[in-house]
């Protein structure tokens, strides 16, 4: 197990280093100049050059890469060009929205998907299966921003139970802040739940055709016990893998939902930073996300070992 862990950690470190080169290089070749974006159409070229120097953009790319990656190692993410505040402050402010949102959405989608998947698998080929998988198909097909707008019209405009958007901040109290996250979390969770339910169903169906299930049934074990005890645990590996991928998506892939609900999350920060060519913010946030994805994958890999003890022993 220790050797397995050490190997996984080494791979993670190499991946991070490679990612930093790729992220920096890709953003270097994106056309656009943050100084010109700030000064607009009435400023002279000489003035733009002046601002470029003040922003520290006048060094060569290699020099700037070494400076940036060196700072990253000491966990210094640099200062934003446009906001001129430390990038780490911007990220922590946004994580206070994005992290709870992602967690709530993930919890919701799991809570919906696993029972639906179980139900559909156990009714394979029957009406219940067709209805729940039909609903899941719809959930995958409907764009989440459209679904988000439906939720807003229903719960904010018509019933007036929840705000139409915005985020009051955690300082306004736990309940007002949570209220602001309910609709976006739901809008994010449903399409994810639909995917997860389908994966759960097909993984279960595979497992249910295994010999040991037949054996358990033949021994007279109750169907519920077979399903929850034997089948679900063995079907979890693909499900946990998908959940890991979904978490990374929920953390940053939510630009559209954050726009519809005008939430100050990480996705919006990246989007704003890209349009303003605040490259240092983009680079640092992307690296943070890469690190998160790697960490989540690592946790997922380790949890395989928990779900399936053979994997841990083998390594």
């Amino acid at each position: 197990m220790t050797a397995y862990l050490a190997k996984r950690l080494a791979i993670a470190a190499i991946t991070l280093a490679l990612a930093s080169v790729v992220v920096f290089a890709v953003l270097e070749i994106v056309p656009g100049d943050p100084a010109r974006v700030m000064l607009g159409m009435n400023a002279s070229e000489a003035q733009v050059e002046q601002l470029r120097q003040q922003m520290g953009l006048d060094g060569g790319p290699v020099q700037r890469y070494l400076h940036w990656s060196g700072n990253l190692l000491s966990l210094d993410l640099g200062r934003s060009y446009t906001y001129s505040v430390p990038v780490i402050d911007l990220i922590t402010e946004r994580l206070a929205v994005s992290l709870p949102l992602a967690l709530i959405a993930l919890a919701l989608s799991t809570a919906i998907a696993i029972p639906v998947g179980l139900y559909a698998a156990s009714r394979r080929g029957r009406a219940g299966d067709a209805i729940s998988m039909g609903a899941a198909q719809l959930g995958v097909a409907v764009p989440n921003f459209w679904f988000a707008l439906l939720l807003v019209y229903l719960f904010a405009v018509w019933l007036r139970w929840l705000p139409a958007g915005g985020f009051p901040g955690w300082s306004a109290g736990i309940w007002p802040a949570l209220k602001a996250l309910i609709l976006p979390a739901l809008a994010l969770a449903l399409p994810q739940a639909a995917i997860l339910a389908r994966v759960t169903r097909s993984a279960l169906i595979d497992v249910l055709s295994e010999d040991y299930i037949r054996t358990a049934r033949a021994k007279g074990m109750p169907w519920r016990k077979v399903l929850w005890g034997h089948a679900l645990r063995n079907a979890l590996i693909p499900v946990v893998t998908i959940m890991g991928l979904q978490f990374a998506f929920l953390l940053a892939g939510t630009i559209i939902i954050e726009n519809v609900f005008y939430l100050p999350g990480l996705g919006r920060l990246i989007f704003q930073a890209i349009t303003q060519r605040d490259l240092i913010v983009v680079e640092s946030v992307v690296m943070l996300l890469v690190a998160t994805v790697i960490a989540v994958n690592l946790i997922v890999d380790l949890s395989y070992a928990l779900v399936d003890p053979r994997l841990g022993n083998r390594a």
């Binding site: 056309p31 656009g32 100049d33 943050p34 010109r36 974006v37 700030m38 000064l39 607009g40 159409m41 009435n42 400023a43 002279s44 070229e45 003035q47 002046q50 601002l51 003040q54 446009t82 906001y83 001129s84 505040v85 911007l90 402010e93 946004r94 921003f145 707008l149 807003v152 019209y153 904010a156 405009v157 007036r160 705000p163 139409a164 958007g165 915005g166 985020f167 901040g169 726009n259 519809v260 609900f261 005008y262 939430l263 100050p264 999350g265 919006r268 920060l269 704003q272 890209i274 349009t275 303003q276 060519r277």
Partner: protein, 492 residues
């Protein structure tokens, strides 16, 4: 039981106190589509900065009023020398910055010298170009000497980029703006909202509202439910295509006014075939402006024939110069030796007037034989490729700066237009302060641009404001980029 009744009594008192009869509301949430990158109007071109802070938090020597007129602000009066080169401003007394420090002539000298310094990064540095020296004669008097007379000088001093800041706070205004206006800055939750509160120390007529929150609502589709749910009570700059959903609802008022945004189909005047007058004229004839307005701006907006806002006193109606005429366009292309048409590209920045307008224009050009390939670009790419490197054939952008016809006289501007006769008119305009003479010169300038068909003049961008019907005091037009809420109040 006793404690129960006293609780009820207390509750009744609290309710009575919290609902004072007939007192109007004093808080307001305004929706804005773009977040300012920072809060210092002297440090960036983003219109979003002025749309929160101009007139509300920061003031200049003069200010621009709702009809585009120059009004006194921190200067209560001024004298202009006979040769038009020396301006003596009398400053208001008893003015305080929001941090409690006094405002005086030294602050004016500091602000203007800072804006025009060699290392200045003021996005409109050009406004201060004519200034030769700024002198604080006494705490209440400032004398500004110009290198040459400048007709628009008082107007220029009313821009958001020319507001007066204090030396103590100038360095931190980006994060924590300190001005002299009727509202002081309270807080900024990045990505979410900016809050202002009434400044008790304000020198002038106090604002009606106690609290104003500017909430960032980037998605046009989210703006409508935000209004309908009551979360946001006003969108002074609303997307035209959302109006249909609000119009006719008695709870809301929709006001359509004018902006200073001339929406242009810009042609690269130095690049073949757009260097030929007949080609530019052919394109101008090919454009059906009303169809463009209907498709790209929900039918709102006024067609233009040159570069001046129809709301301006100097406006000359030149929309008849090139009426929509496909036959005429084809004939001109034939004269230019392009009877089989030609292929070209059109670069479109993100705003919907450009993306939607570009599709419509491409199909109108196809009717006269011009195949324009559509290339969508982001704003930063547009600034880099089109504006800075002039690597384009056609593009669409709205020029939102007020009174900016002089951009056609700028050397090296991305239009690549060069006409000494036009430059002469603008040079004369710069030296003229008499309004009638200025309007005459502006008329001549508009005529030259129309005759030269420098660009395809499309339409004046509308200002569509939507707010709760119980609110009044918003500006109908947008003569400058601002959301002046100093006169806004609830009427019930």
């Amino acid at each position: 039981m006793k404690s129960w009744t006293s609780f009820l009594a207390a509750a009744a008192v609290v309710t009575a106190l919290s609902l004072p009869a007939f007192a109007a509301r004093t808080d307001l949430v305004i929706g804005i589509p773009l977040e300012p990158p920072y809060l210092d109007p002297t440090a960036g071109a983003a219109a979003a900065i002025d749309e929160v802070l101009y007139a509300n938090v920061f003031e200049g020597l003069t200010r621009i009023g709702p009809a585009g007129e120059v009004l006194p602000a921190l200067a209560e009066s001024w004298e202009i020398s006979d040769d038009g080169a020396v301006y003596t401003f009398r400053l208001r007394s008893g003015v305080k910055f929001h941090d409690g420090s006094d405002f005086d002539a030294e602050d004016v000298k500091f602000s203007l010298d800072r804006a025009r310094a060699a290392d200045s990064v003021n996005a409109q540095k050009i406004l201060f170009e004519a200034i030769d020296s700024v002198e604080a004669v006494d705490p209440a008097t400032v004398k500004i000497t110009l290198r040459h007379p400048q007709g628009a000088f008082l107007y220029n001093m009313g821009w958001g980029d020319a507001v007066i800041v204090a030396p103590e706070s100038a360095g931190t205004n980006k994060e924590k703006p300190i001005g002299t206006g009727p509202f002081r800055f309270e807080s900024w939750a990045k990505g979410a909202s900016i809050r202002l509160a009434k400044a008790d120390s304000y020198w002038g007529e106090p604002a009606y509202l106690d609290r104003v929150e500017f909430r960032i609502v980037p998605d046009a589709a989210a703006a409508v439910p935000a209004l309908l749910s009551g979360d946001v009570q006003a969108f002074p700059f609303f997307q035209p295509d959302g109006v249909a959903q609000i119009e006719g609802d008695p709870r809301f008022k929709v006001e359509v006014g004018a902006t200073e945004g001339e929406t242009l189909l810009t042609m690269n005047n130095k690049k073949a075939p757009f260097n030929k007058l007949q080609v530019r004229q052919a394109i101008s004839y090919a454009l059906d402006r009303q169809a463009i307005i209907d498709g790209a701006s929900a039918g709102l907006g006024t067609p233009i024939g040159s570069h001046q806002s129809p709301a301006s006193k100097a406006y000359v109606d030149l929309t008849g110069t090139y009426p929509h005429d496909v036959a005429k366009a084809k004939e001109l292309l034939k004269e230019a030796g392009l009877e089989n048409g030609f292929r070209t590209t059109i670069k479109l920045p993100p705003p919907s007037y450009a993306r939607l307008g570009g599709e419509i224009i491409a199909s109108q050009l196809r009717e006269v034989g011009i195949e324009a390939e559509i290339i969508p670009v982001e704003w930063a790419q547009w600034l880099d490729q089109v504006f800075t490197r002039k690597d384009f054939d056609l593009t669409i952008v709205s020029h939102t700066e007020p009174n900016d016809i002089d951009i056609y006289a700028r050397k090296d501007y991305y239009f690549n237009y060069d006409n000494p006769a036009f430059d002469k008119v603008i040079a004369e305009l710069n030296l003229t302060s008499d309004e009638a003479k200025r309007n005459d010169l502006l008329g001549q300038a508009q005529k030259i641009l129309a005759d030269d068909a420098v660009v395809g003049f499309l339409y004046e961008l509308p200002k569509v404001g939507v707010w709760d019907a119980k609110l009044e005091g918003f500006w109908k037009d947008a003569p400058i980029q601002a959301n002046d809420v100093t006169k806004v109040r609830w009427t019930d």
